[in-house]
Assembly symmetry: C2
Amino acid sequence: HRPWGSRLCLHRLGDLGQLGGHTAPSDTTLACHFPHPRLKRSRLKVRFCTNESQKSRGELVALLRRLGFDISQEEVTAPAPATCQVLEERGLRPHLLVHDGVRSEFDQIDQSNPNCVVLADAGESFSYQNMNKAFQTLMELENPVLISLGKGRYYKETSGLMLDVGAYMKALEYACGIEAEVVGKPSPEFFKSALQAMGVEAHQAIMIGDDIVGDVGGAQRCGMRALQVRTGKFRPSDEYHPEVKADGYVDNLAEAVDLLLQHADK
Amino acid sequence: HRPWGSRLCLHRLGDLGQLGGHTAPSDTTLACHFPHPRLKRSRLKVRFCTNESQKSRGELVALLRRLGFDISQEEVTAPAPATCQVLEERGLRPHLLVHDGVRSEFDQIDQSNPNCVVLADAGESFSYQNMNKAFQTLMELENPVLISLGKGRYYKETSGLMLDVGAYMKALEYACGIEAEVVGKPSPEFFKSALQAMGVEAHQAIMIGDDIVGDVGGAQRCGMRALQVRTGKFRPSDEYHPEVKADGYVDNLAEAVDLLLQHADK
C-alpha cells in the first residue's frame, strides 16, 4: 500500500527563504535537523520551490548552505528566473521595480525601451516616485503588461508586518485598469515549470509546504498531492480551511521525509 | 417649460481644484470668464463640491480667490471636513496618511491611540515606511476601519501622470482583506451632505461637472440631474459612455450658467 506512490518530493523552502530574507529564523530546528541528505540518498527527486523575490538564487543558495542545506542553484525554482523565461519567450523588455538583491537575475535581459513592467517585493524601493515611474511606463503602452513575482499580501519582519508585492500589484492594477500576470506560487504555470525541470508528472509529485493556499492549494490544483507542515506560516485553523484540504499533515519537515521514505522503500 | 426646474445649482470646482492643486491651469478661461457673480445675483443657490484632498479649504479658497472666484469656505463641500464629521459621529481617532497641506483640517480631532486610518492623496508621503505604518495600524485593530478621501485612480501633473489615493486604498484593502469607506464623489453620502448643507432636495438640484462617472453618474444616483461640461477631464467618448448618460452637455461653465439662469428666470 503506497498512499502517495511518490517518485519524488517537491520540497519547499518558502518559509526558510522568507525567514532568511525577512526575519530571524523562528524555525531553525528545521535547518539544523534538515533531512535532505536522507532524501538525497534515496531515489526520490527533490526540488525547492520558493516565492522569494528579494534575492538572487545565488544569494539564496549561499544563505541556505550556511544554514546547513546541501543545495545547488539548479535545484531551485524561483520567480525571477521563471520570469526571465517568460520575458524571453514573448520578446518582452521589462522596466524593473524590484529589490536590488534580485536585479542581477535580469542581467541577461534587454531592458531598453521597456514594453512591460516587472514587479517584485521591492521593499524600500516602493517609493511614490518609483511607483509613478512604473505606472507611467504601463500607461504609455498600448497593451500594458504587468508581471508580478508573487502576490503575497504581507510578511513578518522583526520590526513588524510589512506590505508584500501583492499590495503594490493591486495598486497598479487598479490605476491602470489591468490585471497582472503572477509568476510564483500558487500560479499553475509556476508549479508546472518545477515539474518540468524535474521531468515528472503532477500525479507523481508531492508538495510539502506551510502555506495552506499558496503551497497546498496551488499544488493540488495542478494535480499534485500536498502535505502541510505544522511549522512556519501554519495556523491551527488551516486544518479547517473552507476551501483547501491538505492530503496530510506533519509536525515538521523531518516527519514528512520519514513518511515519504517509508513509502518510497516499499 | 422648465426642463430642470432647478432651484439651485450644485457647482463643481473639481477640475479647478485639481488644476490649482496639481497642474498648470489648462483651463484658465474658465476662471477668467467665471460666471459665478451672475449666479450670485440670481435666486439660485450654489455650492462647490470637490474631491481635492491635498489642501485645506482655507488654502483652496485662497487659491480660487486669486483666480477671480468670489467664494467663501462655507460654500465648499470637501472630503476632509466631511471626514471629520464622520470621525466625530462615530468616535473614531484617526491615524492620518495625508498630505501635509490638508493636515490642519484634522486639528480638532483626537488622534491619540488610533482606531482607524484616514487615507488621502498623500503624494510624496506615500513612502513604503508610511504605507507600512498605516497597514500595521489597521492590522492591530479588531475591526479595521479605513476611510479614503476619494478613490481616484490617477491625475495629471506637468511631470506626467501620478497615482492617486485610490491606488493606495486598493493596496491596503488587499493587504488587510477589508473594504475602505470612501468619502468624496461619487459616494452618495458626500452628495447628500452637500444637499443638506444647502437645505434642498436632490430633485431640486443640478450637478455640473467634467467627470462623467464621479460627477455626473454619482449625482444622478442620488436623484440629481447632471450636466457635463466639455472641459477639463471631459473626453468626446464620454458622450457614449456605456453606463452613464448626462442630462445635458455644455461647452463650458458659462454656457451651463446661461442655461440655468434662462430657466430659472421663467
